[in-house]
Every structure is written in structure tokens, then in C-alpha cells.
């Protein structure tokens, strides 16, 4: 009746997951009940759960990403602690549990922290920068988010019902096959990633179509902000490679559920094919993450140097170059699997070549700063920290690209340090920089500068104190994923790394304090004009927070850096452009289909994991019905009356006029 599910699925005998689960359940229930008592549910349902507004969906993605970042960080703390004490000793985490922790850490960080955060940023910023009101398929956008949330839910449910995979974040066969992982752990992984992967796939299609077909008048390709180019490139990679992930995980699922022989070690299966296919996805995946990060830095470097981005066209070329070549390097993840010298050499060369694209970008960012008036606000600090950190991480990557060198450090702590170096230095730093930069646009007030800078320094120093020892022990021969160590000489390095984690924890706390302080002081930090950083692209033409329709009148772009031109003209002539003729606007209606589809997807996923077949069928039928109900609706859009548009826009114009007067008074522009 309930498949494999029984009371023994709850980890009564393991204190750590049990207590963690209890705390999470109490907190979540508490939040849900408090919300109900305060009567907030109608508002949340109407304005957030069923929204199709790209800005709100972007914020929800980021919220999901931050929550999962905390969970992934907690896993990391546990691992560092274990490795610092378990030297010629058992430590406090038994092997079956430790293996789940490192698997969950990687899975959560990549699929449910980094991807949602990056997608959240692209969602929020890109339509604003393109001068349009929303993405190409707003309802699909909502479905994408909720499917991602469904996957995140399943991973977290595995904490207190059942177990998680013990195979690492990419479940290599034969270990991940039913013969050697008979429990539900790998199934949790498969369904969580598969469901959220569908959501990501749809996001990729949505963004490619938006950037290519939905820009405002006058915005030709070479007038797009750099962040939109990187959004396009990243989304093209998503569209190209997520099908590979879907297919490969489906094959493993068929092996596990139906006894097929794709990757089994008997009857003609080929486990190596899994590694080949999964990395054909896995390598482009990291470029999906890092290209938008590069885009964020392009925006920040030009804004905070007061100069246009240096070498815009070469940046575009480098971005597209990286987009294409990223799909030609994947074998460097398994040089040691034995493809031989010819194959290894070819991929070693392609891996080294792709560094050229990034090199072009780094030089362009540096030359952007040169000759500019650089302001060292928090976003700029994160960007400078990125240059330093990422370049070193990239260099260790080029070292790993040399097959003979890789034979020595493959799957060692050197590798672990390398990829954290580039992901943290590249993606995470970008996310914090972007958070500081675009927070006012999303919420109407800036974040506290002092706490922001403090958090940055703790993060930068903490990162290097944590990972430098890992580089060293990696070179000395320590492999990854060790539940205990046998080499006494590595103890000081593990301890230094643990101190680094402590510094990172302080940085995280500073980040939280920054948020709390900013909310308390929000009136003082209010962004009145909508352009707190002297920005250059169209999102800064809107008020903060941006109105739900983004622009009262979609802009007509006449040059590169579209907003910059408008601003200079206004400052010079000391008047705003004349008030436009306000027309009613058509906006898409909200829809619950995303939430319902994800609800049924979660039910189906859970049922499939536990082999509760009747429930799985019901869930699929429910999802299909939700879909058909959406397809049958008659009303897709509603009209926003011109009076409302006018009212919102006149408030914006009043704020801008006040700014012009201030510049006139204090900006020494007397002609």
C-alpha cells in the first residue's frame, strides 16, 4: 500500500539528522502557522505564489537559493569539522552519514543554491535591462520556479524520511545502481534533480527567446548590456546540455527501476558511458553558472569606474567563444579513466584554449578601471576580490588541464580547492556583488555599506584561509571525500582550514546583520531616484522598487548604454524629456498552474522514490489536469488603465526632477 515506506524511514537512531529535522519541521510549521494567524496567506497567494512577474519570481528564486546556500554551508561545516578531528580517530560522523553529507553538499550547492541564485538574478535584471515588461513566457517562468522548489523540497525531505545518496553529487555507477545502492537515497537524488531540471530547461528556452526576440525598440544586439549577452550565452548552454542530464539520469533511473543495462557492470552495460555523458552536461553546467557572474561583474566594473565597459565587442566575442568551447572540454573530468594519449591530449588542449576567453574578459575589466574614477563601494570590493581569487583558481585549472599533471592530483583535495576557488571566487562573489548592487532596485532601499564591507573582508580572508591548506594537502596526496585521515602530518592543515570556516561563519553572520540593520534603517537608506549608483543601463531608469509593469512607456534606445545617454541629455538640458502620452498596458494574469504542477510533481516524485505506484499515477494525472486547466483558460491578460500608469510614472518623474535640481545646486554644472 505504501511501497517501501514505513516508520523505519525516520532516522530515530541517528541523533544529528533527527534533531535537525525536528528543528526544521518546528520552524517551518511555526512560520506557516504564524502567517495564517496574521492573515497574510491571501496576500502571499495573490502576490507571490501565483505571480508571473519576473521580478518577483527572481526574488523567490534568490530566496530559495539563499536558504539552500545556508543548508549547504552547514554540510560544509560538518565536513571540515569531521576532517579536523578524525585523524587516526573515528570522528563524530559515521561513514554512511558522512557520505550522505558530502553528496548532499554538492547536490544542494550546485542544483539548489547556485543555479536558483543565478537564474534569479537573470530573471530579475534581464527584462529590465532589455526595456521590456516581462520575459517571453511569464507563466512558464512561474512553472520553472515552482518545479525547482519542488526538487529542493524533495532533497530536504530526504533528511527526515529515508536517506540521501551516498555516491557523491554525481552518482557514478556501478555504485549508484540498484545492486550497490538498494536504498532510496539515489532515487531521492534522481527525482529531485530530474524535476528541477525540467524547470531549468524551460527557463533556458524562456531566456533565449526573450533576449533574441523581445528587446525594446532600437536595442540592436550590440546595444544590449553585457549582462544580457551573458544571460543569452548561459541560456543557450542550458538549452544545449540540460537534455543530456535529463537523458542520462533517465537511463540510470531505468537501470534502477526496471533492471535495464545502460551502466551496470554486467550483461553488457557500460559504466564509463555514464561518466562520459554526465560530464558532457557537467562541464558546460559550470559555465552556465559563471557566465552570468561575469556579466554581473561587467555591469559593476563599468558603473563603479564611471566608464563604459572596455572592449565591448571583444567581450561579446569572448562570451560566445566560451559558450561554444565549453561544450568541447568535458573529458578533462575523467582523464584518468583511460581514454589514452590521443583523446586526452585533444581535450587537454581544448581546456587550455577556453582559458583565453576568460583572459580576454579579465583584461577588459582591468582596462575598464584604468582611467576611470573608481569608487570602492561594496559591489566593487567583491569584484576586486573576484579578480584576485578567480585568476588564481583559473590558473590551478590550467594546471589540471595538463593530463600528466592531472593524473597526480585527480580527485585530490587540490581538485576540491580548485573548483571551490573558481565557484566561490567566481559565482558566489558575483552573487554577493549583485545582491548589493541590485538590492535597492528590488526593495527600494540600499544595504548598509559598513556591514557589507565587513562581510566582504571576512568572506575573502575566510575563503583563502580555508582553501589554501586544501591545495597543499592535495598536492601532498590527500584524496577527496575522506571520512577519516591516516596521516598525522595533515592535521595542522585541517585545523587551519577549520579556522577559515570559522572566519567564513562570521562573514555569513555579518551578511545577516547587514540585512537586519538595513531593514531597520531603511528610511535612511531609501533609494529615492531609482538610480543609487549612477548606473548606465535601463534598469536604473525605473523607480526603486520597479513598478510591476517596469516601464510606463517602453524605451526607444538610441545608443550603447541606453540609460546613460538619456541621463546625460537630461542633466545637460536640466529638464526631463516631455511627459509621454500614457496608454493602457496589457499585463499577463497571475496563474496558480506553477504551484499546482509542482505540488503534483512533488507528490509523484515522493511516490516514485518509495515505490507507491498508485500515488505516482494520481500525481501524474493531477499534473496533467493542472496543465489542461491552464490550456483551457480564456483570459490571458488584463488591462492596466492609463490613469494608474500615469500616476506611477508621474511619481517617478517628480523624483527625477528633484534629482536634477540637486545636481544643478551641488554639481557645479553652471554653464
Amino acid at each position: 500500500m505504501f511501497g517501501k515506506l514505513s516508520w523505519s524511514a525516520i532516522p530515530f537512531d541517528q541523533p544529528i539528522p533527527l534533531i535537525t529535522s525536528l528543528i526544521i519541521v518546528v520552524v517551518v510549521l511555526g512560520v506557516l502557522i504564524y502567517t495564517a494567524v496574521k492573515g497574510w496567506w491571501p496576500y502571499i497567494w495573490r502576490e507571490w505564489i501565483t505571480t508571473v512577474d519576473h521580478k518577483r519570481i527572481g526574488i523567490m528564486y534568490c530566496l530559495l537559493g539563499v536558504l539552500m546556500l545556508i543548508r549547504g554551508f552547514a554540510d560544509a561545516i560538518m565536513m571540515r569539522t569531521q576532517q579536523a578531528v578524525a585523524i587516526n580517530a573515528p570522528g563524530y560522523l559515521p561513514a554512511e552519514h558522512y557520505n550522505q553529507i558530502f553528496s548532499a553538499h554538492g547536490t544542494i550547492m550546485i542544483f539548489f543554491a547556485a543555479m536558483p541564485l543565478v537564474i534569479g538574478f537573470m530573471n530579475f535584471v534581464m527584462p529590465l535591462q532589455l526595456g521590456v515588461r516581462d520575459v517571453a513566457f511569464p507563466t512558464l517562468n512561474s512553472v520553472s520556479f515552482w518545479l525547482t522548489a519542488s526538487g529542493a523540497l524533495l532533497v530536504n525531505v530526504s533528511l527526515f524520511i529515508g536517506e540521501f545518496a551516498r555516491t557523491g553529487w554525481l552518482p557514478y555507477p556501478p555504485l549508484s545502481e540498484a545492486a550497490y545502492s538498494p536504498g532510496v537515497g539515489v532515487d531521492y537524488y534522481l527525482w529531485a534533480v530530474q524535476i528541477s531540471g525540467i524547470g531549468t530547461m524551460m527557463t533556458g528556452i524562456n531566456f533565449v527567446t526573450t533576449v533574441l526576440k523581445l528587446r525594446c525598440t532600437g536595442m540592436g544586439y550590440f546595444r544590449m548590456p553585457m549582462f544580457c549577452w551573458t544571460t543569452l550565452a548561459s541560456s543557450l548552454i542550458i538549452v544545449a546540455v540540460f537534455p543530456i542530464l535529463t537523458a542520462t539520469l533517465a537511463m540510470l533511473t531505468l537501470d534502477r527501476y526496471f533492471g535495464f543495462h545502460f551502466f551496470t557492470s554486467d550483461a553488457g552495460g557500460n559504466p564509463m558511458m555514464f561518466m562520459n555523458l554526465i560530464w558532457a552536461w557537467g562541464h558546460p553546467e559550470v559555465y552556465i553558472l559563471v557566465l552570468p557572474a561575469f556579466g554581473i561583474f561587467s555591469e559593476i566594473f563599468s558603473t563603479f569606474s564611471g566608464k563604459p565597459l572596455f572592449g565591448y565587442r571583444s567581450m561579446v566575442a569572448a562570451t560566445l567563444f566560451i559558450c561554444v568551447v565549453s561544450m568541447m572540454t568535458w573529458l578533462h573530468h575523467f582523464f584518468t579513466m583511460g581514454a589514452g594519449a590521443a583523446v586526452n591530449t585533444a581535450f587537454g588542449i581544448s581546456t587550455s584554449i577556453i582559458a583565453v576567453g576568460t583572459g580576454v574578459k579579465i583584461y577588459n575589466w582591468i582596462f575598464t578601471m584604468y582611467g576611470g574614477r573608481v569608487r570602492f563601494d561594496t559591489p566593487m570590493l567583491w569584484s576586486l576580490g573576484f579578480i584576485f581569487t578567480f585568476v588564481i583558481g583559473g590558473m590551478t585549472g590550467v594546471l589540471l588541464a595538463v593530463p600528466p599533471a592531472d593524473f597526480i592530483v585527480h580527485n585530490s583535495m587540490f581538485l576540491v580547492a580548485h573548483f571551490h576557488n573558481v565557484i566561490v571566487g567566481g559565482v558566489v562573489f558575483a552573487l554577493f556583488a549583485g545582491l548589493e548592487y541590485w538590492f535597492p532596485k528590488a526593495f527600494g532601499f540600499r544595504l548598509h555599506e559598513g556591514w557589507g564591507k565587513t562581510a566582504f573582508w571576512f568572506a575573502l580572508i575566510g575563503f583563502w584561509v580555508t582553501f589554501t591548506p586544501l591545495y597543499i594537502v592535495g598536492m601532498a596526496g590527500m584524496t577527496r571525500r575522506l571520512q577519516h585521515l591516516d596521516v598525522e602530518g595533515w592535521r595542522p592543515y585541517m585545523q587551519v582550514a577549520l579556522i577559515g570556516v570559522g572566519i567564513l561563519i562570521i562573514g555569513a553572520i555579518c551578511q545577516v546583520i547587514q540585512l537586519v540593520v538595513s531593514i531597520v534603517q531603511r528610511e535612511k537608506l531609501r533609494d529615492v531616484t531609482g538610480d543609487p549608483w549612477d548606473g548606465r543601463s535601463l534598469e536604473w531608469a525605473t523607480p526603486s522598487p520597479a513598478p510591476f509593469f517596469n516601464f510606463a512607456v517602453t524605451p526607444n534606445v538610441e545608443g550603447e548604454e541606453p540609460y546613460w545617454g538619456i541621463k546625460q541629455k537630461a542633466i545637460e538640458s536640466q529638464v526631463l524629456s516631455p511627459e509621454p502620452d500614457y496608454q493602457p498596458i496589457e499585463m499577463p494574469v497571475n496563474s496558480g498552474v506553477g504551484f499546482y504542477t509542482a505540488f503534483f510533481a512533488s507528490v509523484t516524485g515522493f511516490a516514485l522514490i518509495w515505490h507507491i505506484w498508485w500515488l505516482a499515477v494520481l500525481g501524474l494525472i493531477g499534473a496533467f489536469i493542472a496543465f489542461v486547466v491552464l490550456a483551457w483558460r480564456d483570459v490571458h491578460e488584463y488591462e492596466v488603465p492609463a490613469e494608474i500608469v500615469a500616476k506611477v510614472d508621474r511619481a517617478r518623474r517628480a523624483a527625477r526632477e528633484a534629482f536634477l535640481e540637486r545636481v544643478e545646486r551641488e554639481g557645479r554644472l553652471a554653464s
Binding site: M273, A280, M327, L331
Partner: protein, 124 residues
């Protein structure tokens, strides 16, 4: 947004300004070519009218040709200026497919060659 037909950009498979007669004619041509290519494929595979080792090559060429016929006559993916985005997207997709299929075959072939023969492996 007005309902103007944009004559410099069209979705794949969609030629809204085509007359029904033109549309049907295109489809008939496509069906004709596809049928000829299909019959040719089956015939070559069954009757071996050409030199043996050339048969697989011929079959693949005919398959690619037929895919082209489908793309041009059924999907209207041509090289006109209104189709640039569609063609670029197709080219991108073809590149990825080639990388995945040919890359995988190349890699797996090398890996398999270097695998220890199963009779010398440990029996687990």
C-alpha cells in the same frame, strides 16, 4: 503591439503570407522527395546494388538528405533573411548533436579498447 505581420522575421514552420496553393505545393514536393529518398534507402539496404562498404555511407547520406527535405519543405527553414535566427538555432543544435554523438563514440571507443579483457578482471 499591433498585429502587423513582420515580413523580416518568421517563426519556423510558419509562413503566414503564403497562399494555400503555394503551401500545398511545397508539401507535395516535400512528400515526393522524401518518398524517393526513403525507397532508395530501403532498396540499397536490401538489394546491395553498390559496393558493399559504401552501403552504410549511402544510407547516412540519404538520411541526411531526407532530414534536409523535411527541414526545407515541411518546416520552411530556409536561408532567407527572415529565417536567420531559426537557421542559427538549428546550426547550434546540430553542432551540439555532433559533439555528443561523435564525441561519445570517439571517447567510448578509446575507453573500451583500453579496458582490461573481462576474463582477466576480478570476479566480484
Amino acid at each position: 503591439m499591433s498585429d502587423l505581420e513582420r515580413h523580416y522575421d518568421s517563426a519556423p514552420g510558419d509562413e503566414p503570407q503564403d497562399s494555400p496553393g503555394h503551401w500545398v505545393r511545397t508539401y507535395l514536393l516535400g512528400l515526393g522527395f522524401a518518398t524517393i529518398l526513403t525507397i532508395a534507402s530501403f532498396w540499397i539496404a536490401a538489394a546491395h546494388p553498390i559496393w558493399g562498404p559504401a552501403v552504410p555511407v549511402a544510407l547516412i547520406v540519404l538520411a541526411i538528405a531526407q532530414m534536409g527535405v523535411h527541414l526545407v519543405f515541411f518546416l520552411h527553414v530556409t536561408t532567407g533573411p527572415d529565417n536567420t535566427n531559426n537557421v542559427l538555432a538549428l546550426a547550434f543544435g546540430v553542432m551540439v548533436v555532433a559533439l555528443v554523438v561523435l564525441g561519445s563514440i570517439w571517447i567510448m571507443d578509446h575507453l573500451n579498447q583500453n579496458m582490461m579483457p573481462t576474463d582477466q578482471q576480478m570476479q566480484m
